[in-house]
Amino acid sequence: MQEIRNYTINFGPQHPAAHGVLRLVLELDGETVMRADPHVGLLHRGTEKLAESKPYNQSIGYMDRLDYVSMMCNEHAYVRAIEQLLGVAVPERAQVIRTLFDEITRILNHLMWLGSNALDLGAMTLFLYAFREREELMDCYEAVSGARMHATYYRPGGVYRDLPAQMPKYRESPWTKGKDLKRVNAWREGSMLDFLDAFTDDFPKRVDEYETLLTDNRIWKQRTVGIGVVSPEQALAWGMTGPMLRGSGIEWDLRRKQPYAAYDKFKFQIPIGKNGDCYDRYLVRVEEMRQSNHIIKQCVAWLRANPGPVMVQNYKVAPPKREEMKNDMEALIHHFKLFTEGYSVPAGEVYAAVEAPKGEFGAYIIADGANKPFRLKLRAPGFAHLSAMDEIATGHMLPDVVALIGTFDVVFGEIDR
């Protein structure tokens, strides 16, 4: 009898379903995966080492570029770590704004995940729908920070500035005019909070739309039910967090268990899965979008009722207003020292984690009293998830690997750092 040997193929790094630059070396027996060896690091930029050579504040912008579909959550972990070391208390309004933007970010991330994962598995429409809603939320990013993605909006001590009183509008152009212009500007007549109100009223209907396309879709279920089953024991042993852990039926959410920002103020539920397969994780993420929408609504109501400062009044950490700087010598000195030298953080170490859309994103800082971190370690959820690839993928068919990469929700900005 002729001997048939396994053969090895390269999946990526230039494969559209590899979600970036994953090189996956697969050992196949026919179409069955016998061994999966992900090669990561093609996007390694040494963020942690770069941070060691810069004052603390100058690295906030790098955080956006780690998990580049959930930007502000990364910033949140980093600034929280600095705040804990400095011992500064963040004003309440800033905490609620952070909660608001963390949840906006969660929806942004899950929309991206839903759209691209569905596209990988053969559903085109959803991708276009998801990007339609992402656009609205990115406008919120732009309204507060000036950048659609890499916001650098959170700062140690609060957020950079208060929410804008006027939501920016589309201007007339050859492509948007007349009736179209009126339609796209319909929500934008008032403040950003009005805009978010309109968005949150509308969004549940949109999620229903996505669910109509997928939840009972036969092809979708054939591709996801029973695929990539992660048992609760496996999820714990592999350090999985976020929807990966909750999909396996473990109710663990840092927003509830170790509350930060203003999450203890608001009501929300934690969806969990039952079977730990791709389909359950899909359901968990969709429900999380609904819950995030609910939190955003509550945040908007709170922010309307409670004006106040959004940054600590401590000039050793946060810069004074420019207006003040022009008239006050002391304010000028503070301003100058902050932007040339930065602030020195007392020696010590801290690990601060947030429930990012993909799981637990943590920043571990070792400070030695200098104006730059001695060591910064960023704990990316995707890194732990992808490391389980071999164990989860073995025994699956080749096309299921695509479903698995999708369900892990990998983004190489954070995995390679």
Binding site: V40, G41, H44, G46, E48, K49, L50, E52, S53, K54, P55, Q58, Q84, L85, L86, G87, V88, A89, L236, A237, W238, G239, M240, T241, W252, K257, Q258, N314, K316, T340, E341, S344, P346, A347, G348, E349, V350, Y351, A352, E360, G362, Y364, I366, D368, G369, A370, N371, K372, F374, R375, K377, R379, F383, A384, L386, S387, A388, E391, D416, R417
Partner: protein, 242 residues
């Protein structure tokens, strides 16, 4: 730290008395420094014993303590040295490969830090152990206890050159194929060592020595003045006012 955390760190001191160096009360909870030879043993106890039950190892990272607490610009006294003098310092990121500081001997230079999480008790702990021989730092691997640490240990090996004894597959993970050196060591230049480009004549990607200059704008300054006490008392006053 809250009362329950202080009780917990006392409990850690009691339970592991002769296996640990010390327990530090950090702002976010206890940090346990474990003797290198007891690393695996203590980690196993932390995972299995009912009062600890740290089911998850959230993170593992290497640390290089070379140059810890050193500044480039002395601010402790009045001096004739201006801020710009600091720029001529020799701190991290300011040297290239040929000028890199020859590894100054430092006791306890490399360390491995692990963050553990107990879902059952909703508690975190940080454990650290120093790698004894700085020429060839070796620490026991924890992959047998938490499978998920596999890649984290590979990363620490790749970036710091810390060897994990008993690791099933200790390959480089983040750096390039065929990379030389361990880039996160403090004596590795920030600008790196080689650069890559596509050579149109040779029709392939080639490696060359780096052409960029080291450039770090802001000097490393260590300040230990009253401002943080002030910030802390302000925040305490605010908390008391609530």
């Amino acid at each position: 730290m809250s009362d329950s955390e202080i009780r917990f760190s006392d409990r850690l001191r009691e339970r592991f008395a002769d296996q640990i160096l010390r327990v530090i009360d950090s702002v976010d909870g206890p940090t346990v420094e474990i003797k290198t030879e007891c690393w695996l043993e203590v980690a196993r106890a932390l995972r299995d014993e009912a009062e600890f039950r740290f089911e998850q190892a959230v993170d593992l990272c290497g640390v290089d303590y070379l140059g810890f607490g050193e500044a480039e610009w002395d601010t402790s006294d009045v001096s004739g040295e201006g801020f710009s003098r600091g720029v001529e310092g020799f701190g991290p990121g300011r040297f290239n490969w040929s000028e890199r500081p020859e590894a100054a001997h430092k006791e306890q230079r490399y360390a491995v830090v692990v963050h553990l999480l107990s879902l059952a008790h909703n508690r975190r702990v940080r454990i650290r152990c120093f790698a004894p021989d700085e020429g060839l730092p070796v620490v026991a691997s924890l992959v047998g206890l938490w499978r998920g640490l596999n890649w984290f240990e590979r990363e620490a090996f790749d970036l710091f050159g810390i060897l994990f004894e008993g690791h099933p597959d200790l390959r480089r993970i983040l750096t390039d194929y065929g990379f030389v050196g361990h880039p996160f060591r403090k004596d590795f230049p920030l600008i790196g060592n080689v650069e890559v480009r596509y050579d149109a004549e040779k029709q392939r990607v080639i490696y060359e020595p780096v052409s960029i200059e080291p450039r770090v704008g802001v000097p490393r300054v260590v300040r230990d003045d009253a401002r943080y006490d002030q910030a802390r008392s302000e925040s305490a006053a605010r908390a008391a006012g609530k």
